[in-house]
Symmetry: D2
Subunit: 137 residues, 4 copies
């Protein structure tokens, strides 16, 4: 597998819930931050990427396996790899690990490129294909 | 004072943090829900209200006093009153109380009407003025 | 299938993101609200349920398929059914639909009962088994 | 004034709302992250700090003035200073600025030290007093 993009993150108080650990849905949000950071390092402007009148790339599927809880102040790493599925679809595979490399969670998100008005499929733009090549096999 | 608009809410697990109570900034978000609900009962379409190319009414100030903590499953009420400040500005005053009427928090938000492109002041639209009259003095 | 537990919800401004629709991870949070509400209607006290020193029931897996976007102000229904897997595990299946019955998302969460200190498996408590019987086959 | 503690942050997609900018209450959450980071750099363990059976330091007041909107991908700085009010109370003053130093928001939070069981006032612990001296006048 290609060397993953690595995103470093500290668990914040707002990420936690009354059980004392990170609220389950926030793990997906933390992985999305890694996705954003990897796009930015490929020179993609995030403001226009996520609010674009001609191209949108919504998430159509997500799954997560939780292996270990996270607490406020914990330092974690999100390791991201991409998988180009077809000319309008890709997947992102995230490994969330502690700085000790202990596995915390595994997350997959699947994305599809559409025209935001007609909501019909569209080919992935070139800058996304370059990003997919950089972090995928 | 005019009879307030009352919004009923149950505290959710996602509202809480690792201290076991509602995360402080979420109290403001809960009050904003009451604002949205009061607008909807005045016939205002929320989707276009909050994403409008010709009129935006951002919050320019907010303050909150916390009197009592809230726990997951608690039933609360948000009592909302409005105050028309000038032709482009208004305030909302929120009293957050338990169903037993115990005070929980007091919140104020101040809003200003602008053109979202030039970000210059603009007169409040008629439907907002009607809403202000309904819940304010 | 057993008649599902139905939870009614309005999409709030805080649920949305800069693409103008509900942020993907918030769909899971909305389904968790339905879970909480179904527990409460079975007489389970949420405050102690989610912060209990002797029994915890964390989510070990979640998956979601997104079929249709949601906008601020939309009224949705979450239809919840349970599946008792073994003496320490269960699944929840959620169908998120518009009030017009248009499908919006399908979500599954898997939960395991543990001792929160040793983090070893434990039998599900009686009140959870009663709740599973009420909403599952 | 004492040199502030400076926290650097990128605006994330989850911070935004359907108006295309950061959701108002999330500005407070971002400031709280700066507070957490400043505590951690003083050697305070965040996990036990925010979930402590003998000492809690809840926020009793917060206020915010919004000067400029923030968009997904924006790089911002939060400059934090403290003000020791009395033996159980302190304030934090936050200046949120763009990397160009353009002012974005001004936030104040007031905190009080209590016994979490009796909810009566208590003296601030020594490690908090050291932290207050480091970042306050």
């Amino acid at each position: 597998m290609v060397t993953p993009f690595t995103y470093s993150r500290t668990i914040r108080f707002r990420d936690t819930d009354a059980a004392g650990v990170v609220y389950f849905a926030n793990v997906l949000a933390i992985c999305h931050e890694a996705y954003e950071e990897s796009l930015a390092t490929s020179g993609i402007d995030l403001r226009s990427f996520f609010n674009n009148l001609s191209v949108a790339i919504p998430i159509i599927h997500a799954s997560v396996n939780f292996l270990h809880p996270m607490f406020c102040g914990d330092r974690i790493l999100v390791q991201l790899n991409t998988k180009h599925l077809d000319n309008s679809k890709f997947e992102i595979i995230y490994q969330v690990v502690a700085v000790t490399e202990q596995p915390i969670a595994k997350v997959v998100t699947r994305h599809i490129c559409i025209d935001p008005n007609s909501r019909t499929r569209k080919e992935l733009p070139d800058n996304v294909i370059s990003w997919l090549r950089r972090w995928g096999d």
